[in-house]
Symmetry: C2
DNA sequence: CTAGCGTACAACCAAATGGTTTCACATCAA
DNA sequence: TTGATGTGAAACCATTTGGTTGTACGCTAG
């Protein structure tokens, strides 16, 4: 497997869309698909246009679709896009697991290159400076 | 159990760090943890400082850690952070699945309350200049 | 010790982001 | 028809991002 993802730009858009609290909240609210953009907008302390932009970002990432209902647009989250994002993370994890398996497999025949095995690595050496 | 993640800002940082092809590639290269920042930088068509900034973004998101080896800094990806991101996606998916189950189960006795009060939903509306 | 490498950080710049207000256009209700 | 409502898109602004170059500093090699 390790499906090497085709389009990196689409993944960029996907993760970028997920990288905002408001947008993730919109996704959560729209699993039912019965909220219009304006109903959605009423739930947030920002303008209608701002929420509309968030929805547009989600739409271009494939994370939601819109369905007309009269003059309203009902927003519906697309679980397949979420699955695509998860697949990318799974690929990373698989890579990591592969590394572990390979390490334990080669441990016998790779007799300790002086500083190859870090052993216990400490967690979070320090907090990076504010940028 | 749908662990409602505590810090939204940390998830923002996580997904933002993942939303760049170069950074995802760095993550892939650093599963083995034996590459220094300058070795890493040699692999990309940009300056050392640019790669260093990418590493900093990954570090602040918790996706990599650095380990000093002499005068070099070896970069190591942290699979636990990847798991955190995946957990967030799983929560979304669970929500979606729950919706399907609930719909087929409760369709008879839940006659569509038109609009749930927007104000009562906890949303954590981005306190302060967090962005 | 001195030279050089690897790293960190600052200053700077163009472009993108996230927000605002405003205007235009459909569509529904009366 | 008239008017209110829902949506979309533009212009604009402040801040962030992603890149550059330059400089300072720690560590290792000779």
């Amino acid at each position: 497997m390790v499906s090497h993802q085709g389009d990196s730009g689409s993944l960029d858009r996907l993760f970028h869309a997920l990288a905002d609290t408001t947008r993730r909240d919109i996704l959560r609210r729209c699993v039912h698909g019965d909220l219009s953009v304006s109903q959605l907008a009423a739930a947030y302390p920002m303008s209608f246009a701002a929420v509309q932009k968030h929805v547009t970002v989600l739409e271009r990432a494939g994370l939601v679709s819109k369905r007309r209902h009269g003059r309203e647009q009902l927003v519906l989250t697309e679980p397949e896009a979420v699955a695509r994002a998860r697949q990318a993370l799974d690929d990373l994890d698989t890579l990591w697991r592969g590394r572990v398996a390979r390490m334990s497999g080669l441990l016998a025949q790779e007799p300790q290159h002086p500083r190859t095995n870090p052993g216990t690595h400490e967690h979070r050496p320090k907090e990076g400076p504010e940028r």
